[in-house]
Amino acid sequence: MQELVLIQPIRAADEEWTREAAYAARRREFEARLAECGPLAYRVARGVLRNDADAEDVAQEALLRAYRRFDRLRDPLRFRGWLVRIVFRLALDRARSARRRELRETEWAQPARRATPLNAEELAASSEFQAHFGRALEELPEKLRLVLLLAAMEGHTLEEVAAMLGLPVGTVKSRLFVGRKKLAEKLQCYVTNTKAR
């Protein structure tokens, strides 16, 4: 009995040490992925929310969630796609609640009317177009939106986007095409209306 009393704390300490070591290893492994996946998470969140502070908040929350469930991920190669889905979901939730709050508290500010820009650069740079572009993007179906955001990121080929989302390349291509077309249709109305003023 005495022997047990003497041995047990050492064993418990051993177990504690092993557990701590396992957690430390896991944290190191996760932190190694952060340099690559941190910007990805932030950009996806920013693409949905169009607000720096909210995007930072959501991306960090998503990464923390991913860290907590990191040991449940069976295939480490799917980490990027898994993280993207977590970020996208969280960002959509945040966007919805923010939209509700905005509708409750304030009315939409009407963008200032300016002269219609002539070329694509001027059009894209105008704040009025950006506001319309953001709303048009929000109105797109989620599956199209995510593909558009990921494909527009630098260094992402269609094959990579397809692998990340677990979709065939053809599906990604068609979603990209349909998404851009829908966005253009929505913005075409804006361009036509502003030209008519």
């Binding site: 701590e20 960090q60 694509a120 527009a152 630098e154």
Partner: protein
Amino acid sequence: MLCDKYKGALIDAAASGAALPSYIREHVDLCVRCQGVLAARQVVFAAVDMGLHKISNVELPSSFLPDLKSKLVAETPSTRAGIHNWAFVCAAGTLVLALALIGLPRDQGKQIGGESLNRTKKARALANGLRLDPIHVSKAPDRIEVSKARMPQNLSVTNHDPEVLVPREEEEYLEGYYAKLQKRGGMNLILAGRQEVQAKALQIEQIEVKELKIESLDEQAGLQRTNTR
């Protein structure tokens, strides 16, 4: 109206950035309106691509990664494991308590009921062996008897015969005695189930008096006094 059939093809060409098919190219070269449509669409698609690029390639704030790493460090495994353990212990404890609360009264009832049933059976068997009054043996647990007894409308149905309670120390002696009696023969053990005794009016046969002698009470009293003196 003639140009409308080219509209879809023009939009697709603007969206994909691919070269127009020759028959549309020929028409666009001649039609000023279609040229305008194509140019406008190309501007919009270019603006869309720029907007998407701008949104999707924002610079990461410099504080993002340090903040995140400090949060990861704050996620101490021991705290999380402790919380998990506590949650598990609490859940298990609640479950056990709930099961105990559900299961305990039934078990107790069964045990008490079963014990009393055995005792009453033994007592009945012994009483039959000793030719005592018939004893009502209840197969139902005691609580049912109690509930019936509390209901006044069931009084006529319930059995009013007293149950024979045999102390434990005397049980063995009575069993031994009963066995001896059975060896001698002539004892019939009637094992009957639950007997419902119906209340019946007491019927007494007619009393017949053959010889009736009437004596004076005063004379008897006088005789008794003389005897005592």
